[in-house]
């Protein structure tokens, strides 16, 4: 880890090569993170760019306590959230009662690729997407999400439930066939 420390220190003193090394190390994974929070890959690219600028500006303050990846990841999530706050303050939320009762199995989820899953997540209404990501993948609880996004705990909960509903419906719509095929082959 000494070398990572060195890269961090060099980044802090503005060395170009160290910055590039850091970028090469973490960009793919962080692009994956940004893709989940964005509506499309253009927005994800923008967030990745803004996030890394923040990383390089603030890396001097990184205390070597937690993992660097966790730290960078938090910056990416924060940049994504910030953008969301600016853009979607009054974003209308669809009535999702029509989606209720949609079920999807693990088998379908297992069969579709991460890329396909991300495409479905990107289709979610922005706030659902944020709550879903924060809860399911970042592992925040509803209390934390409500503070992070300035919404009530109840809203967070219902947004998560609705995000799940929509996801299930879309996955079933798009990839339901897989389940059938699987069943047939299994049978």
């Amino acid at each position: 880890m000494e070398d990572l420390k060195k890269i961090i220190n060099d980044c802090a003193s503005g060395k170009k090569r160290a910055q590039e090394q850091l970028y090469q190390l973490f960009a793919p994974k962080m692009f994956g993170v940004c893709l989940r929070y964005a509506k499309d890959s253009t927005e994800a690219e923008d967030n990745l760019q803004d996030g890394f600028i923040k990383v390089f500006q603030n890396i001097g303050r990184f205390r070597h306590e937690g993992s660097l990846e966790g730290w960078i990841r938090r910056i990416m999530v924060n940049v994504s959230l910030e953008k969301f706050r600016k853009q979607h303050i009054l974003h209308p939320v669809e009535d999702v009662s029509i989606y209720e009762g949609q079920n999807v199995s693990d088998d379908i989820l297992a069969a579709i690729s991460a890329k396909e899953l991300i495409a479905v997540i990107q289709e979610l209404p922005p706030r659902y997407r944020m709550v879903f990501n924060l809860f399911v993948i970042e592992g925040l609880n509803h209390q934390e999400i409500s503070e992070e996004m300035k919404i009530t705990v109840g809203t967070s909960k219902s947004n998560l439930a609705r995000a799940r509903e929509i996801l299930k419906r879309r996955v079933k719509e798009l990839y339901g066939d897989i389940e059938k095929t699987n069943n047939y082959t299994a049978g």
Binding site: L4, P28, A114
Partner: protein, 477 residues
């Protein structure tokens, strides 16, 4: 555990480690944005450099406009060659000693570096092994998960229903149990990163750091001087000869960036002038004086070294005062081996007298200088080139006048009105040669020029300067 977890789990499993190569234009954008910020910082450096340039210009201007200028230079340079030949053997000896020592150190360092590389490969192997182990562990864990899942003998429908009806409070509980697994993944990732970095391991030069150095400087010192008319009338000999001497000191540098360094330290330096064989000048200096001056005696016939100047007795506490180039020299009594003649023919001017001696008169000032220099590295390779410039606070610690005649070298007194604190400017070029990772050998011709007259007497403007070749070693931490 509730079945609801499974969908969140499987989504997380799928997405947590997901990575995708971002398009290359993202990095290009980041770089250009960072470059923009760098430029701003560079502007700040330009501010510093221009400040240094102003100091340098002031320094050159001071020299140029200080009355006595370039015309005298050839004389000084000629003088330099003779006395320096005496100095050289004394200087070259310690130099050799230093070189040998440094060579040995450089050798030791090479040995060390080979050792560390073997260590590195060992560490690498170890890390790789560890990473492999970690991934194996993960694999077995996920295998176990799959196994437990297949054990579940719910029908598909039941399972789906169960997944979506469980309360969310259960989920957060389960979240915690999952956290440990996620952390393990991070640890494995970090080890992978470490292994990657190990292979990327390249030596970067440190941008910040301290450098200490020790130098000795064989040099030549002289001065530029001008005097008030009345003062000059009572001074038959205005010396413009310099002297060779040895100075030196230690320095501390702090790297503020890759190319820029700030230096301070403490140096010892000597400045002064000699007045050897002044008879030729005496006879042509002032025709009025010649009328009343006695003809030089046999021993002062101008073929041997000799000295003569106007003095005033009884003026400063019963002593003898003599106007010299650098100021009024106060003597308590007539030095041994000197004669004082009075101009008794002229009753109006009875106190104006003349001091004669064979031998050589010299006036020496010793300084302790505390510099503040800015160094800019023009070339930063095995052989490096640096420019340096800045100012010194010069404290006068020695102020003596000597007469070297048949009676030996006598300290005849000191110069009055010399300021203790003076300021000088320094310009230099340094050539250094790296002797291993930490040591370097440097040769730095420097010109040091006093910005103010070191004599506070308004009739005297005396500004010493010194050209020295600072030779020494630097150690970089």
């Amino acid at each position: 555990m509730s079945k609801k977890l499974n969908i969140d789990d499987s989504i997380r499993e799928k997405l947590d480690g997901f990575s995708a190569a971002p398009p290359s234009h993202v990095w290009d954008n980041i770089q250009s944005q960072l470059d923009g910020q760098r430029k701003k910082r560079r502007m700040a450096y330009i501010g510093w450099i221009s400040a240094a340039a102003v100091v340098v210009l002031a320094f050159i201007a001071g020299w140029y406009f200080s009355g006595k200028s370039i015309v005298e230079e050839p004389v000084m340079v000629q003088q330099q060659t003779t006395p320096e030949s005496n100095q050289e053997p004394a200087v070259s000896k310690p130099d050799k000693g230093i070189e040998i020592e440094v060579d040995q150190l450089a050798g030791a360092q090479e040995l060390n570096s080979t050792e560390t590389t073997t260590n590195n490969t060992i560490v690498e192997d170890k890390l790789l092994a560890e990473v492999e182990l970690a991934t194996e562990q993960n694999k077995s864990e996920s295998d176990a998960l799959v196994a437990s899942r297949s054990d579940e003998n719910y029908s598909l429908l039941e399972r789906i229903e169960a997944i979506f009806t469980t309360k969310q409070s259960d989920v957060s509980l389960a979240e915690k149990s999952n956290e440990t697994q996620v952390e393990e993944n991070f640890a494995a990732d970090e080890m992978l990163i470490a292994a990657n970095l190990q292979s990327l391991n390249e030596q970067n030069q440190q941008e910040h750091g301290w450098i200490i150095g020790a130098q000795i400087s064989p040099g030549y010192s002289s001065h530029s001087a001008s005097h008030d008319d009345t003062y000059e009338r009572n001074m038959t000999y205005n010396s413009d000869n310099g002297g060779s001497n040895v100075g030196g000191g230690i320095s501390v540098q702090y790297k503020t960036s890759k190319r820029l360094r700030v230096e301070s330290g403490i140096y010892y330096a000597k400045d002064g002038q000699k007045a050897d064989n002044s008879f030729n000048l005496f006879s042509s200096r002032n025709d009025n004086d010649m009328l009343y001056a006695p003809a030089p005696g046999g021993s002062y016939d101008g073929t041997e070294l000799g000295f003569s100047n106007v003095v005033q007795t009884g003026s400063s506490g019963g002593g003898i005062a003599m106007n010299s180039t650098a100021g009024v020299i106060e003597m308590e009594s007539a030095p041994r081996g000197t004669n004082i003649s009075a101009n008794l023919e002229n009753t109006n001017n009875v106190s104006a007298q003349r001091l004669y001696s064979d031998g050589e008169f010299s006036q020496v000032f010793e300084f302790v200088e505390v510099p503040l220099y800015l160094r800019y590295s023009v070339l930063d390779k095995k052989v490096g080139v640096e420019l340096l410039g800045g100012i010194n606070a010069g404290f006068v610690i020695g102020n003596n006048a000597y007469l070297d005649n048949n009676s030996g070298v006598q300290n005849i007194g000191s110069t009055a009105d010399i300021s203790t604190l003076n300021f000088s400017g320094t310009l230099g070029v340094g050539v250094n040669y790296a002797l291993g990772k930490h040591f370097s050998f440097a040769l730095e011709p420097r010109l040091n020029y006093y910005l103010n007259s070191i004599n506070s007497n308004p009739d005297v403007n005396y500004r010493p300067y010194r050209i020295g070749v600072y030779t020494g070693v630097y150690y970089e931490f």
